[in-house]
């Protein structure tokens, strides 16, 4: 570049406060993470859900759901994460296990979250709950940001082409997590099944 351009750039840069320049230069990753509303951290007992207001969608892209906020207004709810809508274990075992468990009605809401788009989640909900029982809702996390914020994502690129949600079952009371049950291999059907989480049916 010309000497003049270089001189102008140098002057501009030198006008920034020294401290912020050093911070930006030394910790670029931290500077990026600072723009996230909620840094990713494995969700644990006592935590609230990620307070994201425009990530989860229900039925259509324009219909955003702030699940953390809804959870605070509820007595008890169940949050189920699945790797893939319409996949065998998700469709045949995980979700139906909760739909059919006698203790599920003690909860105000069952929310199913998957890294799929809202059209797919809506169609899947119609398959698993054709009667439209209002206590179970199928929410889409297409960007994966809600799932990542709880550190519940895994790299499913070889099968799915993107990161997906681990299979988990989380119980929440008055907006705070009371139990976290995540499959150790991400996709199995053991600790997160209804019989394990809610007791024998």
């Amino acid at each position: 570049m010309s000497f003049r351009t270089a001189a102008i750039l140098a002057t501009r840069v030198s006008r920034q406060p020294l401290a912020s320049k050093l911070v930006a230069a030394r910790t670029p990753a931290a500077a990026q993470r600072a723009f996230h509303a909620t840094p990713a951290a494995f969700i644990k007992v006592g935590d609230p859900l990620p307070g994201l207001e425009d990530v989860l969608m229900e039925n259509s892209p324009g219909n955003k759901v702030n699940l953390a906020q809804e959870a605070q207004a509820l007595n008890k709810m169940i949050l189920l994460g699945v790797p893939a809508a319409f996949s065998p274990a998700c469709s045949a075992k995980h979700i139906p296990g909760f739909i059919n468990h006698p203790r599920t009605k003690e909860f105000d809401l069952v929310a199913v979250v998957s890294v799929n788009d809202p059209f797919v989640m809506k169609a899947w909900g119609e398959v698993l709950d054709p009667a439209g029982d209002h206590n179970i809702r199928f929410l889409a996390d297409p960007s994966g940001r809600f799932t990542k914020a709880m550190d519940m994502d895994f790299d499913g690129s070889s099968i799915f082409g993107n990161h997906r949600s681990k299979r988990y079952s989380i119980l929440i009371e008055n907006g705070k997590v009371t139990s976290v049950n995540v499959e150790p291999d991400n996709t199995g059907t053991s600790v997160s099944m209804a019989e394990n989480v809610l007791g024998p049916a």
């Binding site: 893939a84 788009d117 059209f119 169609a123 398959v127 082409g161």
Partner: protein, 166 residues
Amino acid sequence: MPGLKAGDSFPEGVKFTYVAPTGQLDLTTCGLPIKYDASEEFKNKKVVIVAVPGAFTPTCQEQHVTSYLANLDNLKAKGVDQVVFIASNDHFVMAAWGKANGVKDDSILFMSDTGLAFSKSIGWTKGDRTLRYAIVVDHGKVVYADTDDVPKSIGKSGAEAVLSKL
């Protein structure tokens, strides 16, 4: 490379993933995924590939798939051996979408363009979805390829459009 056009050879190494239809329409069960070697399969067939931005989305569902379902006999009469729908959705979703449309055999196969590999390779993507397009491959040679750039339109990639080019 902006898409394919008539006269091109269908690229080598194109693979999709799908779940083979099992003759039943239960959407809560699903077989295991298989890799479909498109480049190999298309060498000895006449095939229509239809790409849609999203399974279960309005236009794709109400117009695009239905146009092909309604015209399967007409397509067969013009020598088409196979119709393959692809999208960026995963193979589980594609399999369910096929069943949701009442397809329980291989009259139309529903496959995933996993990772958008093929659509990216020909530059026919928008964000992390495919464009809406149709490609006719006759024994390894592309005889028709076009995209629908007008939202909600299937004027270039619907069954009628493809039939008129066969």
